[in-house]
Amino acid sequence: MAHNASARTIVSGRALPLREDDVDTDRIIPARYMKGVSFEGLGDFAFRDARFDESGKPTGHPFNDPRFAGASILVVNRNFGCGSSREHAPQALSRAGIAALVGESFAEIFAGNCVSLGIPAASVGHEAAREIQDLVGSDPSLAVEVDLEAREVRAGVRRFALSMPESHRKALVTGLWDSTAELLPGAAAVRALAGERGRSARLPYLGWARAGS
């Protein structure tokens, strides 16, 4: 029972470079903008503190740069998305128009959250990430493609090998990235593991009584 999941084999579009290592999810979406019970409207607050100074004046952040308006592929550096597990971060990026990320490396929880939303986060290595940033920096109209089938990122005529956990790649290209849909068919096996009334051979703790109340 797939739920709105479709294969994500190729993402094509224009790209924008964000040059910095260790960009944490507090930077991507500051916590004070997470005060809500849905992800609606988060796109407006992506990189809010980096995009505007204290007086509310726009900075030179790439997300403010008209040359990159409408870009859908974010090109980053090392350990992007570190810190808090907030799914608000990829949700904000997605709602700001980002459909794929390319970079040197990604923090694990962030990369997993991207897969949950059908967003590829492709690693291309230190040099390649910088080269792609240079290419799109000098020509923001450059056509960029993230091709999970061919396992490469194409930027104009240049090609760069990409890598990501094979399970992430497989989930995206087969449309299995909706993890709840992938997990639900295992319900009977879960019941078998958890056992009747907590009597589980492998997980004895499920049946223990509590010391207190």
């Binding site: 997990l183 295992g186 703790y205």
Partner: protein, 465 residues
């Protein structure tokens, strides 16, 4: 060679292999809070799904809870909406909720252990990256995103790739006045904030064995700061003694069975690992961060690194850090004037942390111009502190004594830095903007060091008190 704890616990909880190649992993304990769960409950409802195992989820409120005036409705209408949503979702699903009137509310990573919910040999997930805290008990515990919160609610399982396991062996012993916070900041300064990508960390060695349970929680808490999604300490007698008798701990009639299971999953002396790192704990002094990620830390007697001394790939980050912090390469960290001191958080908001800070604060006064806050990690911690008179020690010294919550660690509540204030903080992240002001600056350190800074008005070696 034998399997390590991580592999044994993973194997016990593995339901099967999924079409994507990931493992389907059963989650023994799911902890829920108000920020990352409402969207998950909504997604569940949208699909017509129910919570599969409500008795294995427990909820509390921590991130948005005000720590000064906790009366309802909250002063912040958005916070009130989030709180009300969690109460309604938990009630509808039959999930136990530890609210403000329960006496058991607190930061989710503080109350799990103190209620005995957290036990060795479990898999534990929560929509919060500091879930690694629970690894202190020899559990596999990791943070998840909201879509994965939906997965756990709907199926009690997660789709996961098994990480590799790195053993970090801390030899020797920590010196007097040096603790778990210093140990983890030292590890982060050596292995970097991305060094743990793809790994779970097993902390071992005599310096780790000597730590009490709360100190082990501090250590495991910041595993995620090193890029490792999970960190743990294999359980021992100290672990079992801590768990015994707590409300959700195994009853006495199941105690022997519990011990047998817990001992069976412990890493043996011949356990194998994918990677091993050794550090000498004896060489560590109280640590303080000087930058904008938790790996940018030095000993309190040291100077901030010169760019030329750093590995080339760390120089850009250091440049950014110095620009934001207003520090210069080669500066001493000791003597930096602070504006705010914050003692609390899931890293250092437990009773042992408060005792450590109170021992420094007792009979002294917070420096003029410094705002100092003590925020207990839970209502139970607050009650114990009052029993011991620690609240009075803090108040007499000029600290603000607050109600339980995440407070100024992430500033989703009224506790925030203002402008470019410099904060001596016992929390876990010095990211730009983390404490609520985009210009705010954070120095991570132990509760003793934060208390000493509050009294001195500047960064100072707490061992001199």
């Amino acid at each position: 060679m034998s399997a390590n704890l991580f592999d044994k616990v993973w194997e016990a909880h593995k339901v099967g292999s999924l079409p994507s190649g990931r493992d389907q992993l059963f989650i023994g304990l799911h902890l829920v809070h108000e920020v990352t769960s409402p969207q998950a409950f909504a997604m569940l409802a949208e699909r017509g799904l129910k919570v599969a195992y409500p008795e294995r989820s427990f909820a509390t409120c921590d991130h948005i809870v005000p720590t000064a005036d906790q009366s309802r409705p909250f002063g912040d209408p958005q916070a009130e909406v989030m709180m009300a949503a969690l109460e309604a979702n938990a009630a509808a699903a039959g999930i136990t909720f530890f609210g403000l009137d329960s006496g058991r509310q607190g930061i989710v990573h503080v109350i799990g252990p103190e209620l005995g919910l957290t036990q060795p040999g479990m898999t534990i997930a929560c929509g919060d990256s500091h879930t690694s805290t629970h690894g202190a008990f020899g559990a596999i515990a990791f943070g998840i995103g909201t879509s994965q919160v939906r997965d756990v609610l709907a199926t009690q399982t997660l789709a996961m790739d098994r990480p590799k396991v790195r053993r970090i062996e801390a030899s020797g012993s920590l010196g007097l006045g040096v603790g778990a916070k210093d140990l983890i900041l030292f590890i982060l300064s050596r292995l970097g904030v991305e060094g743990g990508l793809g790994y779970a960390y097993e902390y071992s060695g005599p310096a780790v064995r000597a730590l009490g349970m709360e100190a082990r929680m501090t250590l495991c808490n910041m595993s995620i700061e090193g890029g490792a999604r999970a960190g743990y300490v294999s359980p021992d007698e100290a672990t079992f003694a801590y768990v015994r008798g707590r409300p959700y701990a195994p009853a006495e009639r199941d105690w022997e069975a519990a011990l047998a299971y817990w001992r069976s999953v412990a890493s043996g002396p011949d356990a194998s690992f994918d990677d091993e790192v050794s550090i000498d704990a004896s060489a560590i002094e109280p640590m303080v961060t000087w930058g904008v990620n938790p790996g940018q830390g030095i000993g309190v007697s040291e100077r901030m690194p010169r760019l030329a001394e750093l590995e080339p790939e760390r120089r850009d980050g250091a440049r950014l850090a110095y620009a934001h912090m207003g520090f210069a390469e080669g500066d001493r960290i000791a003597g930096k004037r602070i504006d705010v001191a914050f003692i609390g958080s899931c890293t250092n908001g437990r009773i042992s942390d408060l005792r450590e800070a109170a021992a420094i604060a007792k009979g002294r006064k917070v420096a003029k111009g410094v705002r100092a806050l003590v925020v207990p990690g839970s209502q139970a911690v607050a009650a114990q502190a009052r029993l011991e008179g620690l609240d009075l020690v803090f108040k007499e010294a000029g600290f603000e004594w607050r109600g339980a919550g995440c407070s100024m660690c992430l500033a989703m509540n009224p506790d925030k830095l203002v402008g470019s204030q410099l904060c001596a903080s016992s929390s876990n992240r010095n990211f730009i903007g983390r404490q609520g002001s985009s210009l705010g600056r954070t120095l991570l350190m132990s509760p003793a060091m934060a208390a000493a800074a509050a009294l001195s008005g500047e960064v100072v070696d707490s061992r001199s008190f």
